[in-house]
Symmetry: C2
Subunit: 368 residues, 2 copies
C-alpha cells in the first residue's frame, strides 16, 4: 500500500460507505474483518472512516474530498468503498467519486469474480472478469457544440492505450495461472472448470478497428511475448456475442478481460446469472493499493431498512485481503460466505429470503 | 422507398445475402415472400440480387460496391441483408458493409422486436428495442498516436446529436403507441404486457453526463413536447442495470430505446433470453427506405450445411413489409412463424431440433 504498515501485520483500512446501502454493507464487512480468528500471520486491523458520495456532494459541494484521498495515501494500506448514488440528470460539478478514486490511485484493474453456488439449481459458472479500470469512455473527456441548424451535438473521447491494455492483460493472464493453481487443491470432481486455464478477450474490433484493434493486439501480445503464459489458452469474443454466450453457456468462460465500459456491462450481466448483484464483489487493484467495492449500487429504494445483502461487500473485503497478500484470511471469508449460501437458511430478500443485513452478517461471522 | 413503384403494388426488393449463412437464410426469406397468398392489396415482388460482404471484399477489394448502393437507390423499395463476416484483425481497407449501408441510406433506427414463444417454458417477454443506428462509436472516427515512451495510444470519437437522438426517440414513442393499438386486438388474457405503453431510455449518464446526458434529455423531450405521447409511460435504466434487469425481469420492458452500441449489446442479450439469435429479426428503418436484417452473424462454423435457422431472416422480411406499409402481409408471416414455433416439431439445431433450413422454411410457407 501507499502507507507502509508501522508495525508488522498492522493494516489500516479506509472505510468509505458513501451513499444508500453502502452505509449498511460497509459496517457488515468491517464486522467480518474484525471477527476473523487471530493468528500469527493474520493482520491486525485499524479502520478509519472517510467521506465521499453524492450526499456528501450535496452538503459540501465535493464528491471526493481531498482529505479522503490524502488519508488513503498517507495512512491506509487498502480501502472498502460502499456505493454511490447517481443523479439521473447532469448536476454541475458532480462527478462519480469511485471513478475518480480509480484514477487518482491508479487502480488499473477491476477484478470481479462471479461464481454460482453449488447446488443452487442455477446455471453453473465460475468466471473472473478483469475490467480495465482507467480509460475507455471513462476518461470523461466530453464537449458539446451547436450545429448550423442550432441543434446540439455532443462528443466524447474514447481512449485505449497500449500501456493500460497491457497491464490489464497481464493481470488477466496472471490471475488465470493463479486460479489454475488454486483449482489443483480442489478434488477434480468438484471443479467446475476442467480444462486448461483460459483468457477470453472481449472487444468490438469489427467496428472499432483502431481502438479495439489495439486492445486486442496488445492483450494477445501479453501471452505471445511471455513463455510463462504458454499454458494459458486464449480466445476472443465480440462484446455483443459475449453477452449472448455468457447467458447461453456461462460455463464456457474462465477469465474474461474487457475494456472499461464492456467490463461494466458484462459484470452486471454475470451478476444476474448468479441470482443477485448483492452477491458480486470487486477489487480495484493497482500496484500500490487495493479498494474493495461491491458491484451493486446504492439502492436508495431499500436503504436504511436492513434489507441489503451484505455478501457482495463481505466478499469484497475478502478480495481486499487476497490482493494485499493475506490469502488464508481471504479464503476463510469466502468459505464462510459459501457455507451460509449453501445452507440457504439465512438470506436477504434479493435472493428469496427474509433475513436482515445483520442476521446474514452474524451467520457469516459464526462460520469464520 | 427511393425508387417509386412503377405499377401499383409492384415492390422491388434488393437481396444482399453477403457472407456465410446469409446465403441460406436470404433465399429462405425470399421463398416466404413469394409464397404469400396474392390478394388485391398485397404486393407483387421482384427481387434483384446484390453483392456485398467480406468475401466480396477479398475477391474484389470492396465490401459494399457502388453498384449495390446505386441499384438500391434507383430500383428498390426495400432490401434484405443477410449477414457479414468480421475479420478478427484489422484488414486494410475493409469496413463493415452493413454499418456503411445504414449510414448511406440514412436508416436511422434499428427496430428489433424480441418476444418469447407462448408456452415455451422460458421467461416471458415481449419487448421492442429501438437502436439509434447512425452515430455513437459507429461513426468510426478513430486515430492512433505514439506517446513519449514510444507506446501506442488510440482514440475514437463518440458522437451523440440532438437530431439523431430525437429521431430515434420519436420512433420509440410512435412504436409504443402502435404496439398498444395492436394489443387492443388481442384478448386481455393473452396479453403479456398489461399496462400502459412504456418507453425505457437506456443511457450511462452517470459517467457520460454530456453525451448520454444529451441523449437522455432529448428523448425525454420527445414525450414532454408532444401531447400525442401523453399516454405513454417513460422510465430509464443505466446500461449496466439494463442488462441485469433484462435478465431478472424481462417482462418489465415494453419499448426500449438505446444509443447505437448499447442497443447492439442489449439486443444480443435479449436474443439469449428467447433461446437463440436465430429467432431475432431487425429492420433498419429510414424515412425513405427499409432494410430487413437478421440480428445473427454469418456463423461460418455452420455455413453451407442447412443448419441455419431461417426464422430471424423470415421475420425480418415481415418487418420489411410492415415498415413498407403492408402490415396484413407482415402479420401473416409472423403468425405462420409463431405457429411453427408453438407446434415445436420442425426446428433447427440452435433451438434443439434436427430440421434443416429448408424444412423450417417449407413448414412456414405451408401455414401462410
Ligand atoms: C457507479 C458507476 C460509475 C460504476 C461504473 O460504471 O464503473 C458502477 O456501475 C460500477 O460498476 O462500479
Ligand atoms: C456486424 C456488426 C457490425 C453489427 C453491429 O455491431 O451493428 C451486428 O453486430 C449487428 O448487430 O447488426
Amino acid at each position: 500500500g501507499f502507507a507502509t504498515a508501522a508495525q508488522s501485520n498492522k493494516v489500516t483500512i479506509g472505510l468509505i460507505p458513501a451513499d444508500g446501502i453502502g452505509r449498511e454493507v460497509i459496517p457488515a464487512a468491517r464486522q467480518v474483518l474484525e471477527s476473523l480468528p487471530k493468528s500469527e500471520s493474520s493482520p491486525r486491523f485499524e479502520f478509519i472512516h472517510l467521506d465521499a458520495g453524492f450526499e456528501h456532494f450535496q452538503k459540501h459541494g465535493v464528491a471526493l474530498p481531498d482529505e479522503t484521498l490524502a488519508r488513503l495515501r498517507g495512512e491506509c494500506q487498502g480501502a472498502l468503498f460502499g456505493a454511490v448514488s447517481s443523479p439521473s440528470h447532469k448536476v454541475a460539478g458532480y462527478s462519480s467519486p469511485i471513478v475518480a478514486l480509480r484514477k487518482h490511485l491508479d487502480l488499473y484493474a477491476n477484478v470481479r469474480p462471479v461464481a454460482s453456488v453449488a447446488g443452487s439449481g442455477q446455471k453453473q459458472l465460475d468466471m473472473l472478469i478483469i475490467r480495465e479500470n482507467t480509460e475507455c469512455l471513462y476518461i470523461k473527456q466530453e464537449r458539446i457544440e451547436t450545429d448550423a441548424n442550432g441543434l446540439k451535438v455532443a462528443w466524447a473521447d474514447r481512449k485505449i492505450s497500449e500501456y493500460a491494455s497491457r497491464r490489464a492483460g497481464q493481470m488477466a493472464f496472471n490471475m488465470a495461472l493463479m486460479r489454475d493453481k488454486l483449482r489443483s487443491n480442489v478434488p477434480a470432481s468438484e471443479r467446475l472448470w476442467q480444462g486448461k486455464p483460459k483468457v477470453t478477450i472481449v472487444h468490438k474490433s469489427n467496428v472499432l478497428s483502431v481502438t479495439d484493434g489495439l486492445w486486442r493486439e496488445t492483450v494477445r501480445g501479453v501471452k505471445e511475448n511471455n513463455p510463462a503464459f504458454a499454458g494459458v489458452d486464449m480466445d476472443e469474443q465480440l462484446v455483443d456475442s459475449m453477452v449472448y454466450r455468457m447467458f447461453r453457456e456461462p460455463e464456457a468462460f474462465d477469465v474474461v478481460v474487457a475494456p472499461n465500459l464492456y467490463g461494466d456491462i458484462i459484470s452486471d450481466g454475470a451478476a444476474a446469472l448468479v441470482g443477485s448483484l448483492g452477491l458480486v464483489p470487486s477489487a480495484n487493484v493497482g500496484d500500490n493499493f487495493v479498494v474493495g467495492e461491491p458491484v451493486h449500487g446504492s439502492a436508495p429504494d431499500i436503504a436504511g431498512q436492513q434489507k441489503a445483502n451484505p455478501i457482495a461487500a463481505i466478499r469484497s473485503a475478502g478480495l481486499l485481503l487476497e490482493h494485499m497478500g493475506y490469502s488464508a484470511d481471504a479464503a476463510r471469508i469466502y468459505q464462510a460466505v459459501d457455507g451460509v449460501l449453501r445452507e440457504g437458511l439465512i438470506k436477504t430478500p434479493d435472493i428469496g429470503g427474509k433475513s436482515t443485513t445483520q442476521e446474514v452478517t452474524d451467520a457469516i461471522c459464526k462460520r469464520l
